[in-house]
């Protein structure tokens, strides 16, 4: 995400990449900085998990539900695994899965959406009908069924979620692109005899990017929420793989006992906070990007 912003600016301003990156970052508001810092920390945690985590991903190292202490900074989970280590490995799995799923769904849904909006005709009708049929079936239930048919590996989970998500991306991309393709500048380009690729990439895509980017931020976060919901219903990621959504679902019964009890068991709260923090961070950056690309110059 952070890499895309300067790229687009450089197209417009024709500055060198580094120069424009420096200029762009200098104008970033505090919320965007906060978001970027959080994302960088998460990415570092994800990439260097084996070196950062004090214990292994699934090593049973203590008693169940030990409180925080010098040995286990955040305490232990239901069978005595170190929570901090699982959170760090969870960053790797959760972000990895969510990123792959979202990229895949945007690649499929975005491309098809813009293409069909531009071409209309039978292709539009065909894809729209198939997508409508997919969309019309509830995600959770369809995911449950497909997972039962295909088998529950992480690859299948990514493919199925990406497929189901791409239908939603398609709808949005097509709806926004429909508004753009009737614009005069697109018609002008058509009259000029520009190729379809040129029109899509130079005329349509830049103008529908802001809502798509906003959607990307949300979709990305929805992936872990869907995984959490699947875990809640009893399917999801294979244990002992650490994944934040599943970690919240595993200790769901502790949620309603947070305040009254001693010792306080925070097991479901750490992964929930981790998810919330990342979502807020990503969307702060997205908002800033949206603001930049909207071309508004009148404000801060």
């Amino acid at each position: 995400m952070t890499a895309q912003a300067p790229n687009l600016r450089s197209v417009r301003a024709r500055r060198s990449f580094l120069e424009s990156a420096r200029r762009t970052l200098a104008t970033a508001p505090w919320s965007a900085w906060f978001g970027m810092i959080v994302i960088v920390i998460y990415v570092i945690a994800a990439v260097f998990a084996p070196w950062l985590a004090p214990y292994g991903e699934s090593d049973v190292v203590g008693k169940a539900y030990q409180p925080s202490g010098p040995e286990f900074w955040l305490g232990t989970d239901q069978i005595g695994r170190d929570l901090l280590s699982r959170l760090i490995y969870g960053a790797r799995n959760t972000i990895g899965i969510a990123f792959l799923t979202t990229m895949l769904s945007f690649a499929i849904g975005g491309t098809l959406g813009v293409l069909t909006a531009h071409r209309r005709g039978w292709l539009d009708q065909l894809v729209s009908r198939v997508v409508d049929a997919f969309l019309a079936i509830p995600v959770l239930i369809f995911a449950l069924m497909l997972l039962a048919v295909a088998g529950k590996s992480i690859i299948n989970l990514i493919l199925i979620l990406a497929l189901l998500d791409s239908t939603r991306v398609f709808r949005l991309a097509r709806a926004t692109a429909l508004n753009v393709v009737v614009m005069d500048y697109v018609e002008a380009a058509k009259l000029r005899g520009e190729g379809m690729g040129w029109i899509i990439f130079k005329e349509v895509l830049p103008n529908i990017l802001p809502p798509l980017i906003t959607e990307f931020g949300l979709r990305f976060c929805f992936v872990f929420l869907t995984i959490a919901a699947l875990s809640f219903l009893g399917v999801g990621i294979q244990p002992p793989t650490a994944d934040w959504g599943s970690m919240v679902a595993e200790s769901k019964t502790l949620i309603t006992f947070p305040v009254r009890t001693f010792p306080w068991i925070p097991a479901p709260f750490y992964p929930a906070i981790a998810i919330a923090l990342l979502t807020v961070a990503i969307n702060f950056v997205v908002d800033w990007f949206l603001h930049k690309t909207s071309g508004l110059r009148d404000e801060k």
């Binding site: 049973v60 008693k63 169940a64 449950l144 009893g234 294979q238 002992p240 009254r260 009890t261």
Partner: protein, 535 residues
Amino acid sequence: MNETQNKLNAALGQAVRGRITRREFTQLALASGVSLAAANSMFTKAYADEPKKGGNFKVGVGHGATTDSMDPGLYPDQFTGTALWGTLANSLTEIDADGNVVGDVAESFESSDGAKKWVFKVRNGITFHNGRTVTADDVIASLQHHLGENSKSAAKSLLKEVATMKADGPNTVVFELTGGNADFPYTVSDYHMPIMPKNPDGTVDWQSGIRTGAYKLDKFDPGVQASFSKNENYYKTGKGWFDSVQFLSIKDAAARTNALLSGEVHYMDRCDLKTLDQLKASPDITVSEITGYGHYIYVMNVTQKPFDDVNVRTAIKYSMPRDEILEKVFLGHGTVGNDNPIAPTVKFAIDPTPKHSYDPAMAKEYLKKAGLESLAFDLSVADAAFAGAVDSAILWKEKAKACGIDINVIKEPEDGYWDNVWLKKPFVASYWSGRPTVDWMMTTAYAADASWNDTFWKNPKFNELLVAARSESDEAKRAAMYAEMQQILHDDGGLVNMLFNSYVEAHAKNLGHGKVAANWQLDGMRVAERWWFTS
């Protein structure tokens, strides 16, 4: 017991029946030299012990599905079992709180011909909810419902040994079995076999919900709730205290707990063990824990490699950290198993030696005997088998590494677990609610021809003993036979009995009850009949 105490007890009885007031009782107690606090607690306790009529009793049950049916042959679990059998109906016999079989719809029963012939006398004057008297024909029609070629009943294989059923007069039913079975009265106490009214065409009316039990069915919404009102003509005196009873299906443990805490239900089953301490701390809630016959197990197919080698099986049995699993996953709520499916409280149960507990040295020794340096296999699990199956397997995997055993834990879909995994995959998690007799348990799951022989284990000596013990009338000889069978299963079988689980349930403090039965959850599934409100 001395005289003062006798007097006090008598006074207490009077107080409870409302003949003397609490104040009068306290004065009497104080006069007898009992402290005020002790007198108060005596009074409160006695008061709670004395059953009272009335109230609307609501139970939150962790089962129930929209596919549930009134057909007793298809009752899948505690929701239908407790509501549509324990509250609504009676079987021929019943298991009492001490685990003995006693008559229910049958007043008495006796056997002859080496337990091959059984005669059950139907209780005099017992009526259905519509006022009709129960006869021997109703009993036969009710049991016949589970037999026949097209039967889908879960009780079909339990009744397989019944050769003929005949009515001998309006009140007598005679069963001829294909082989002797001293435990036959236990079999017909099962919750799939309530007594129902016979239709004129010979079939049985299971649809209407007209039964013989302490409560009449008002409304049944499958997967949501079942509500009942009191049957004023119930044949048992001193049972069925509530005015009305409602069972709610609340599958989510946290929702169930919250419903109990906020007073929307008075009783819940299957407490979440992780939050049990917090629940116990609540002033209005009592948590009860009963060790029953149920057990959580992992079963391997002994006809498949590598489990066809008894040394491999023994090595695996030594690699499981049962104590640690009990402590961590089940937070101590249960008793560790020793690869014997017969619970310690069942008659004729033994504790086989050597005890199978976590021992990497022994595990490695047995691996060596099998000619192996290390061992790797897949273990299929899902929490559909039992809550905690996945966590237990992961913990086992971690600890088995030290024994040179590499367990690849596969989390299977909960959905369809019993179709696609159990009896299909070579090594799976499973459970049994247990059975109150050795014969019943062994016949169900370990006999060579058992339809649920999930270990595919066929031991000739074991099966010989099983048949012989059924018709053995000498108690000591029978005990010796059962002991030998349990030992053989422990040494040779494909069963890893991790632990006997406890039924952990919770209820509002203002509920009173007698001794709680251990054969099923929810006081033998008859909580609505046996419990009462104290205030």
